[in-house]
């Protein structure tokens, strides 16, 4: 009678996170700061994306010890990242009882051809996307939540804006498309036909879509909400800023009240310096994490 791991249960979990902020943390102490600031979940990892970028080499799923510490430290849901296509990293995280797995391009891909078949798992997954083709393929593989890829660890919002605008524009186009145009649209995007049919029927994506990759200020978070994000992931933005506690709180409030500009102005006042930003054009193609995933 009772069923676990159903589509409704997995997608529903992400629905509960809407309007909220999910923060990257590397230890229990940061997780407590995030929870106290009102984060709806934390993403446990070994290094935030900007440090992954700086360190170079292969980035893997983090030490299970960190995930465990974070899970014991907070009562909000705990997410963790696995490499694209790394079945075992994902299964280990699931066995540990992680609440959500991010099959993430922030880590070095383990498989350059195939993503995980995510509907086989009881634990729900979130995946990055830049356009409707990537979004629809991830949904068809079983992702229960999406996020823009943006360009992680740069503190530069431009790519997240590009990806959010692109996906939403394509969803709007599909919503008004006639049925006989849909198959060619699916072919052009490499998107599963059935998923596009679902998008057309709903007039929106069938799963929640958060913004991620480059959020550094309360204004950045509010901007992404304005552009139609269901919520916001903040990676390096909080704990690479001058005053993480204040930044975390300000980003949470700006996300809730993204159209209350007076309030956001107050929140942003004397926050200290945001994380150092990177200009995207200075990154070589190989250094762009958003190019990962297929």
């Amino acid at each position: 009678m009772q069923q676990t791991g159903t589509e409704r249960v997995k997608r529903g979990m992400a629905e509960m996170q809407k309007g909220g902020v999910i923060m990257d943390v590397v230890n229990a102490e940061q997780a407590r700061v995030a929870e106290a600031a009102g984060a709806v979940a934390v993403m446990a990892l070994e290094r935030v994306p900007s440090d992954i970028r700086a360190a170079g080499g292969v980035a893997r799923a983090c030490d299970p010890r960190i995930v465990e510490d974070v899970m014991n430290a907070v009562s909000i849901p705990v997410m963790a990242k696995c490499r694209i296509g790394h079945i075992t990293e994902a299964r280990v995280l699931e066995a540990m009882g992680v609440d959500y797995i991010d099959e993430s391009e922030v880590l070095t891909p383990a498989d350059e051809v195939f993503h995980l078949k995510k509907d086989d798992y009881t634990v729900p997954f979130v995946c990055g996307c830049r356009n409707i083709g990537e979004a629809a393929r991830r949904i068809a593989e079983g992702a229960s939540m999406l996020r823009t890829k943006g360009e992680p660890g740069t503190g530069n919002i431009v790519e997240a804006v590009r990806h959010m605008r692109m996906v939403n524009q394509q969803v709007r186009q599909i919503a008004v498309m006639s049925d006989d145009e849909l198959m060619t649209e699916a072919k052009n995007h490499g998107a599963p036909y059935e998923i596009l049919k679902e998008i057309k029927a709903l007039g929106k994506l069938p799963v929640v879509n958060f913004a991620a990759g480059g959020v550094a200020t309360p204004q950045d978070a509010a901007l992404m909400m304005e552009l139609g994000a269901d919520g916001v992931f903040v990676g390096s933005g909080v704990f690479k800023s001058d005053n993480p506690e204040k930044f975390a709180k300000a980003i949470v409030e700006a996300t809730t009240h993204y159209q209350d500009y007076e309030l956001i102005g107050k929140l942003a006042k004397e926050l200290g310096t945001a994380m150092k930003g990177l200009e995207i054009s200075q990154l070589s193609l190989e250094d762009r994490m958003q190019e990962r995933g297929w």
Partner: protein
């Protein structure tokens, strides 16, 4: 009737859809002033810690504590309505004389959906439990409406309804209709007084 849905964080749009499916007007409540325009309030699912922090910051907690509005809390919402949260010091709204326990059915991998029988209602209700709390103790004046796995998951009093799960992720209107009837009764009572 105008039904407000506290729209600070969480699945408030799904409740809007359910209220409208019951044939009533739904209002998304983001500011405390909006409470005076509505006949009943839904506290949606989301992260209770996050919602509570925003409620404090925007003055909802104090106003709701003294309010006589009928209220319906789902998941995080029932935690906010409770008199006590087991193992925690924080006092929420104290509307229902119940003690709730958070994450009673395990973590997300243990989250489930089920069909429930509801006391006094013929139709079975479809329920989605997500990292759900349960009602460990129900005091006087609180009627137990449903149980799952031997745990209390739905309770009601004359003006408050609290459930551990999410009917708003399904098309099952049982509990929303139950609340609409509660609000209606409350309005007619107030008119006779």
């Amino acid at each position: 009737m105008k039904i407000g849905i506290l729209a600070l964080q969480g699945a408030f749009r799904e409740h809007q859809r359910m209220v409208e499916a019951c044939g009533e007007e739904a209002v998304l409540v983001k500011k405390v002033e909006m409470l005076s325009e509505i006949d009943g309030l839904i506290l949606p699912g989301g992260e209770s810690t996050a919602i509570r922090r925003l409620m404090d910051r925007y003055g909802f907690t104090e106003v709701l504590r003294s309010s006589t509005l009928p209220m319906f809390g789902t998941c995080a919402g029932v935690i906010l309505l409770a008199r006590e949260v087991v193992g925690e010091e924080t006092k929420h709204l104290g509307k229902l004389d119940i003690a709730v326990e958070r994450n009673s059915f395990g973590r997300q991998v243990d989250s489930f959906e089920a069909e429930l029988t509801v006391e006094g209602v013929e139709e079975r209700a479809l329920a989605v439990f997500i990292r759900a709390p349960h009602i460990a103790l129900a005091g006087e004046g609180v009627q137990v409406l449903s149980e799952a796995e031997g745990k209390i998951v739905a309770v009601g009093s004359d003006r408050h309804l609290g459930i551990s799960f999410h009917p708003e992720l399904t098309d099952s209107l049982v509990f929303h209709q139950y609340f609409m009837d509660m609000v209606k009764e409350n309005i007619s009572k107030e008119m006779t007084v």
